[in-house]
């Protein structure tokens, strides 16, 4: 067991864990940030996706000891007060979910995608989210949501 100081959603948090413990379980069990989900434990479903230094990462595969000083952003850190992030709002606007279990991971990956590519085509969205599973099958709606978010970000600029 070691002590780690990690930067999560703009705050410094100290946790005690084995350095090999995946970030996902530190977030969920110690910091009670349960938005990132366990789906498969092998980086195949994207449900655990968080942003590490702005990059989407499957947190089930990232040992907390490998984080270094890189900042972590989870779905809980996305909204500004009660105002949803445009990507969250877009998912809500087109009901791009059913059970919602994959949604936090989908949203975090989409936020990273739009930061790099503000106007992605449908094919670019599909390619970027290829590692994410929505078992309820709302893929078409998710593509529409990301395109809707791109539009609303563009309008806000």
């Amino acid at each position: 067991m070691e002590s780690f100081t990690i930067h999560v959603n703009g705050a410094e948090r100290t946790v005690r864990a084995d350095g090999k413990t995946p970030l996902l379980f530190v977030l969920r069990e110690q910091l009670h940030l349960t938005g990132a989900k366990y789906g498969c434990g092998e980086g195949q479903c994207g449900a655990c996706t968080v942003l590490v230094a702005g990059e989407p990462v499957p947190s089930c595969l990232l040992p907390v000891g490998d984080l270094g000083g890189r900042p972590v952003q989870t779905i809980e850190g996305l909204a500004k007060g009660s105002a949803l992030h445009p990507v969250q709002q877009a998912f809500l606007d087109v009901s791009a979910f059913q059970c919602g279990f994959c949604t936090p991971g989908m949203i975090m990956a989409s936020v990273a995608l739009l930061a790099k590519n503000p106007r992605p085509s449908a094919n670019e969205i599909r390619a970027e989210l290829a590692h994410h599973v929505c078992r309820c099958g709302t893929y078409s709606r998710i593509v529409r949501a990301v395109q809707g978010a791109a539009e609303s970000v563009k309008r806000a600029d």
Binding site: D18, T21, F25, R28, E29, H32, T34, G35, A36, K37, Y38, G39, C40, G41, E42, Q44, C45, A47, T74, I75, E76, L78, A79, L84, Q88, Q89, F91, L92, S95, F97, Q98, C99, G100, F101, C102, T103, P104, I107, I125, R126, A127, L129, A130, H132, V133, C134, R135, C136, G137, T138, Y139, S140, R141, I142, V143
Partner: protein, 695 residues
């Protein structure tokens, strides 16, 4: 996020807390059961067992159904708000708590809409009627013809009477009135519209609480030692190394062996240190699976009040075949597949003496309740199951598996125990969708009418066994068999295999006759709603406008299942085993549409889920165990697999609403199978299709 423990010994205060602040309707579980009996010979449930009025005017609707992504938290809110004449924002649902909610049956079989919606509608209409009656009595006015708007009755002099006023009335302990008039669907103001999911904001903000997000103070974590397969018996074990770890407890009971520890990591590490010997129990030979299923088939078994009879017959097959000009026989196979709900099963169990509370994500809280009470030989009132909205199920979460294991691990421990299955456990420890063999034999007369139809399903089940075509001589039978893998429910279950076999066979017959598959179906069909969805889909899709060939193919399939009338048209391209779905058009008529956006989402989702079983999903096993129980080796549909999919809903306000979460999955495989044949000339008679393709 921390959650307060819910005690099973439900005091008034605790019930009030879970129901929310407000006026409590003299409501406890025990009390309501006694009052139910008083409610009279008709045994109509008390209003107070279904509805609770808060002192802020919010109405809580209690139901034993659960939300697993199918959207009933929203559609039931609409149904209640419609009859209560109340803003949907002032209706909340308390679902799946066996101590508080009525037993509405398991959340399965697309039964919420046809069975629970009418019950809820009646209860809410009764409450609205009572509101009018009480207002009329209090004001001393005439017959209660007072209209209700926005949750209140307004008198001529401007006085108002609200549900909040009603909450103080002892009349709430009356039974639901069967005479309270229901709202005509043509007059709907709240139903029939695309109300956004009521839990949507929580979902997109990551704050929605699933059972795997629950954390109780002092909670321990469990892990179960797994045998190679479910048939193995525990011969011996040595847990001394595990027990030497700090604060690890080993739990052993018959063939059940597990540990609890302060953290999930510690529990997983402890399990690794247990030396265990299991008996060697073969699963059977996957190479001879389908022959074995037929060899061990039992005669069709007819049960009373069976939704899906195992045997249906009319006329005489031999007479029909004698009249036939064209005869065709073919055999179809479908593989075992897994549900893969993205949220793996999780349960938190807590004992207090002989009382047990399990918080979990089951689809069937009352089934789990009864199974657990039976397993521990305790009284039903000593068990409480509390369900969180679950991260999907598709028929996977019907029985107490994880829940019972959590309860076993927690037994004798003062702390609650959390058991979270891993993805591998999801694949290997639960039941799967049955593999099945279907044998079809048909005869067609000189005018292109199907005159004989004999159909046998081995091991799959009886849903969609009966063809939706006009056939005078028919014999359809389902034969139960002995399955090497544990099998159970699945979205639409047997209807997937039966529809695949039937529609593929119909296409083969049409081809033999040189008839267009659409024309052949319409010629042999009487059901006007099924005809209408086929015709509408054909028009929208442009059926017959382009010719299949050069690796591009067009296909269609239709079905009538659980009251849903379905047609699905597919365009795909195939180059060897590289198959890409380009476009699909679905038309669905399931009666009056309560929420078009949720319904459309369900139809899309079911069709997309069907793509997996149609093209590539297959649970593989050897003689010892399941061998591809991981998401990296079991492929489910992903973004790149999904075509441009258009869903057209037929809203029939004049017809009762049917359930819709399941049946659209049944048309995916035959529609793709037909298009695949049209594209490349390979008639693949097995699922998944890619496994049966040559080249």
């Amino acid at each position: 996020m921390r959650t307060e423990p819910i005690n099973d010994a439900l005091t008034r205060r605790e019930a009030a807390k879970r129901l929310g602040s407000g006026v409590l309707l003299l409501f406890t579980a025990g009390r309501s059961r006694a009052d139910e009996e008083k409610a009279g010979p008709q045994k109509h449930p008390l209003l107070s067992s279904r509805l609770h009025i808060g002192d802020d005017g919010t109405i809580t609707l209690l139901t034993g159904k659960v939300e697993c992504g199918q959207g009933i938290r929203t559609s039931l809110t609409q149904v209640a708000a419609e009859e209560l004449r109340l803003d949907p924002a002032r209706v909340r649902l308390l679902m799946g708590d066996t101590a508080l909610a009525p037993n509405d049956g398991g959340t399965w079989g697309s039964l919420t809409t046809p069975q629970t919606v009418p019950v809820i509608r009646q209860a809410c209409a009764s409450l609205r009627e009572l509101l009018c009656r009480c207002a009329a009595e209090e004001w001393g006015v005439g017959p209660a013809e007072l209209p209700v708007h926005n949750g209140q009755v307004r008198g001529a002099d401007g006085r108002v009477y609200t549900y909040r006023d009603l909450a103080r009335s002892p009349k709430l302990l009356t039974a639901v009135s069967v005479n309270a008039p229901l709202t005509d669907p043509f007059q709907w103001q709240i139903c029939g519209r695309p109300l956004r999911p009521v839990n949507g904001a929580a979902i997109v903000s990551g704050s929605h609480q699933y059972s795997s997000d629950l954390s109780l103070p002092g909670m321990r974590h469990g892990r179960v030692v797994r045998p190679p397969n479910y048939r193995c018996r525990l011969l011996s074990f040595d847990a001394s190394r595990a027990e030497s770890l700090p604060d690890v407890r080993v739990v052993h009971d018959g063939d059940f062996l597990g540990v609890t520890a302060p953290t999930a990591e510690a529990a997983a590490a402890a399990v690794q240190l247990i030396d265990v010997r299991w008996s060697d129990e073969p699963l059977g030979d996957p190479q001879t699976l389908f022959g074995d299923l037929k060899a061990h088939a039992k005669p069709p078994e007819l049960k009373e009040f069976d939704r899906y009879p195992a045997l249906m017959q009319a006329g005489s097959i031999s007479d029909g075949m004698a009249r036939a000009v064209h005869r065709l026989q073919s055999t179809y196979r479908i593989a075992y597949i897994a549900h893969v709900p993205l949220e793996a099963r999780t349960a938190v169990a807590q004992w207090q003496g002989n009382r047990l509370t399990v918080q979990c994500g089951t689809q069937a809280p009352f089934v789990v309740h009864d199974e657990i009470a039976h397993a521990f030989q305790i009284l039903p009132e000593q068990v409480r199951i509390v369900v969180s909205d679950t991260g999907s199920g598709y028929g996977a979460k019907h029985n107490s598996e994880c829940e019972l294991e959590a309860a076993r691990l927690a037994r004798g421990s003062p702390e609650p125990v959390r058991l979270a299955w891993s993805r591998e456990e999801e694949f290997t420890q639960s039941y799967c969708r049955p593999a099945a063999l279907m044998e079809v034999q048909s005869g067609v007369d000189g005018d292109g009418n199907i005159v004989a139809w004999e159909f046998h399903n081995y091991n799959g089940g009886a849903a969609s066994l009966s063809p939706p075509y006009r056939i005078p001589n028919r014999y359809v039978a389902y034969h139960a068999s002995e399955s090497p893998l544990r099998q159970g429910s699945y979205r639409s279950l047997a209807a997937v295999g039966n529809t695949f076999a039937r529609e593929m066979h119909v296409d083969e017959v049409a081809e033999k006759l040189g008839l267009d598959p659409l024309e052949f179906r319409l010629r042999n069909m009487e059901n006007p709603r099924l005809k209408a969805v086929l015709q509408r889909g054909a028009e929208r899709f442009g059926w017959g406008k382009s010719k299949s060939g050069n690796g591009v193919g067009y296909g269609l399939a239709c079905n009538l299942e659980k009251g849903g009338h379905l047609a699905l048209f597919t365009e795909l391209e195939a180059h060897g085993k590289q198959v890409r779905l380009r476009r699909m058009v679905a038309v669905f008529d399931a009666g009056a549409v309560i929420n078009p956006d949720i319904l459309s989402n369900q139809v899309e989702g079911a069709i997309v889920q069907g793509i997996g079983g149609a093209l590539f999903e297959e649970l593989k096993f050897d003689r010892k165990e399941i061998v591809n129980g991981k998401l990296s080796s079991y492929r489910v549909p992903r973004f790149q697999d999904v075509p441009d999919l258009e869903v057209i809903l037929v809203d029939r306000r004049d017809v009762l609403s049917a359930g819709a979460g399941e049946s659209p999955i049944t048309v995916t495989a035959p529609s793709i199978g037909a298009a695949l044949y049209a594209a490349c000339g390979q008639r693949v008679r097995q699922l998944p299709l890619l496994a049966g393709m040559e080249g």
